[in-house]
């Protein structure tokens, strides 16, 4: 099935993006990436030393020929810091792509819509491919699309919470209205959550904690990859609408279509 994900003109076969935090080792990260088939891997700039990469560090788990390194600005509390991080990463030779994460409060890591919009405007103007992490806010999603972000990345639930699509109703509106790919990011704790996001018509999903926390990182990554594919395939095939109850018989209107009985029902 030729059904690539296109972001900023670049085609990707995989619709599963991987985050690199929280893994117990570079080896386990590598296993997860390999098994997932992911082609976009996001890395927190605050965690890597781009000038002196550690031997056993996060970057050693990524193969730049197979995966696009998507630098993210996690840790930034305002637009100014995020912009500076993005520029440092571009200056170090990474592709001018940036996953904009502006999370001013450290407990739930929820994104700041005001600073995100501000930073996105500047970075788009400077030629970056901007993928903003946002609250599932349909209006904000449109505003970002209008200023030229390459995607929007609304959250399903708070980062790391594994709670699934708590923002489902708003995600549905974002997907319906979007002209750029919608990548559901954060909160996807089980393959069924990613399948659900893809069935709804998300263009891609990003998963991290659920993989990092697994006992068998490779197997879990593969499970998420399959669920992502399955969800996408079902979306393309056209899922039937869900109903609250079965609708097999017609107890209220069935009489209209019945053959008249021997005694007759008409006067």
């Amino acid at each position: 099935m030729d059904d690539p994900l296109i972001i900023a003109g670049r085609a990707f076969q995989s619709r599963l993006l991987i985050g690199t935090g929280k893994f117990p080792s570079a080896q386990s990260l590598r296993e997860a990436i390999d098994a997932s088939g992911a082609e976009i891997v996001t890395v927190a700039l605050r965690r890597v030393d781009l000038e002196h990469p550690e031997e056993e560090g996060i970057l050693s788990g990524i193969d730049p020929d197979k995966q696009l390194i998507l630098p993210n600005t996690s840790g930034a509390r305002n637009a100014e810091e995020a912009i500076r991080l993005a520029k440092l990463s571009r200056a170090s030779g990474l592709a001018p792509w940036v996953k904009l994460e502006l999370t001013p409060e450290p407990r739930y890591l929820l994104p700041d819509p005001v600073e995100t919009l501000k930073a996105a405007a500047v970075l788009v103007k400077e030629g970056f491919v901007v993928l903003p992490y946002i609250q599932a806010d349909p209006v904000l999603a449109k505003r970002l699309e209008e200023i030229g972000t390459a995607t929007v990345m609304p959250l399903g639930a708070p980062i790391g919470s594994n709670r699934g699509l708590k923002t489902r109703d708003m995600l549905r509106i974002i997907i319906e209205q979007a002209n750029v790919p919608v990548v559901v990011d954060a909160g996807l704790g089980a393959p069924s959550h990613t399948a659900e996001a893809m069935e709804m018509g998300s263009d891609a999903v990003l998963v991290n904690t659920a993989l990092a926390d697994a006992t068998d990182h490779g197997a879990m990554a593969r499970a998420f990859a399959l669920a992502t594919e399955a969800g996408r395939m079902a979306y393309r095939a056209g899922l039937g609408p869900q109903r609250e109850s079965a609708e097999a018989s017609s107890p209220l209107t069935g009489f209209l279509f019945e053959e008249p009985s021997a005694e007759g029902t008409q006067p």
Binding site: G21, K22, F23, P24, S25, A26, L45, R46, R47, V48, D49, E54, G75, A76, R77, E81, R84, L85, L88, P104, E105, P106, R107, Y108, G160, S161, N162, T209, A212, D213
Partner: protein, 374 residues
């Protein structure tokens, strides 16, 4: 609002009543609660929770992995001065400790040397420490030290005497990431009994210091009680109240908790409220269940064997290869007064191996120069 009014609402008798009547049912309810109250924390700290320690440990591990993954951040302390005008009965630096060993303050050149030595080991997070001598070791000197350290490390924190908000702002502008400041004990009477003079004798000024640091923009606030000074159950409950207060007031700052336990004290001080290993573990587990997203720091005050066992129980940050003397890494420091004797004497490589052995990833860097306000 000051945390004083929060603490005043919870006098000892009210806290004792919280954990006094706890039985197995309350402990189980606290274990199963999704959002835990102070009453739940008291249950988890109570003697009735002792038979449920394994269940506490499982939940603490689950919550820590959920929020931090299987990672341990590494840091090292750099003592830049051991001059101290305060007189804290339990401390090796205290002016009245009777120690004859040398007291000194590192020159900027010596600070560079210490930084070079630690950077060569791979450290990216460091903690600058001083005694309390605002005259000899003033804010301008500490600001210079922060700026020097920032040339070598991604993350620089301080553990120094309490400051005014404007002073914290000055350090923040030099690139300060975090402030560590232990209240030692929240009990006013015990506090007054061991802090005899200096700025530190002012309970209220110290209590509000982390609020001031947070207001100044400091991103990481580390707190703790000095275990051994007072009834630990009371102190930990007050600490928890203080932590919740800071989370509300300084909502942009990340909070972490340290668990300094008095082990070796000067002769004039006898530990009255000793904290056993089991007590320490119960404190860590209970606090993890109450504060799932707080960082937990563990220093080399604790021995290697215990530290390794504590890694999977909620720790998120560890020091390694520490020296508690000024000049301890690069310049000769024989005969220089140390603050306390460390227990875990392994070098950073050995600590990294120990972390990997239990299935955790050592994290050296978790901050960036892009966050500097220059």
């Amino acid at each position: 609002m000051s945390v004083v009014s929060v603490l005043e609402a919870w006098p000892p008798a009210r806290l004792e009543a919280l954990y006094g009547g706890v039985g197995p049912a309350e402990v189980d309810a606290a274990l199963q609660a999704e959002e835990r109250t102070l009453r739940d924390l008291a249950a988890l700290l109570s003697p009735a929770a002792r038979p449920r320690m394994e269940a506490l440990a499982c939940e603490a591990q689950r919550l820590t992995r959920w929020h931090f993954g299987r990672t341990i951040s590494l840091y090292a302390p750099i003592y830049i001065s051991n001059i101290c005008a305060a007189d804290c009965l339990y401390c090796g630096f205290a002016v009245g400790s009777g120690s004859r060993e040398a007291r000194l303050t590192l020159t900027p050149g010596e600070i560079h040397q210490e930084c070079q030595a630690l950077a060569a080991e791979g450290f990216q997070n460091i903690l600058l420490l001083t005694g309390e001598a605002p005259g000899a070791v003033g804010v301008a000197y500490i600001a210079e030290a922060v700026a020097i350290a920032r040339q070598y490390f991604a993350g620089v924190s301080v553990e120094i005497y309490a400051l005014d908000e404007a002073d914290y702002e000055q350090l923040f502008r030099c690139g300060l990431e975090g402030v560590t400041l232990y209240m030692e004990t929240y009990d006013r009477r015990s506090y007054a009994a061991v802090h005899l003079r200096g700025r530190k004798a002012d309970y209220r000024y110290r209590l509000d210091a982390l609020d001031r640091a947070g207001k100044a923009g400091v991103r990481r606030l580390s707190m703790g009680v000095l275990l051994g000074l007072h009834d630990w159950r009371l102190d930990v409950l007050w600490l928890a109240l203080h932590a919740r207060h800071l989370q509300k007031q300084c909502w942009q700052s990340a909070l972490s908790i340290s668990f300094p336990r008095l082990r070796h004290t000067p002769q004039r001080f006898t530990i009255q409220h000793g904290v056993s290993d089991i007590d320490l573990v119960q404190i860590m587990l209970a606090l993890r269940l109450f504060l799932p997203e707080a960082g937990f720091n563990l220093s080399t005050r604790e021995p290697a064997v215990l530290r390794d066992r504590l890694i999977p129980l909620g720790v998120t940050s560890m020091s390694a290869g520490s020296s508690t003397r000024p000049g301890g890494y690069a310049t000769t420091s024989a005969g220089v007064l140390e603050q306390f004797e460390i227990e875990d004497r392994r070098n950073p490589c050995e600590v990294v191996q120990a972390i990997r052995r239990v299935g955790y990833d050592p994290v050296w860097k978790d901050f960036d120069h892009a966050f500097d306000r220059v």
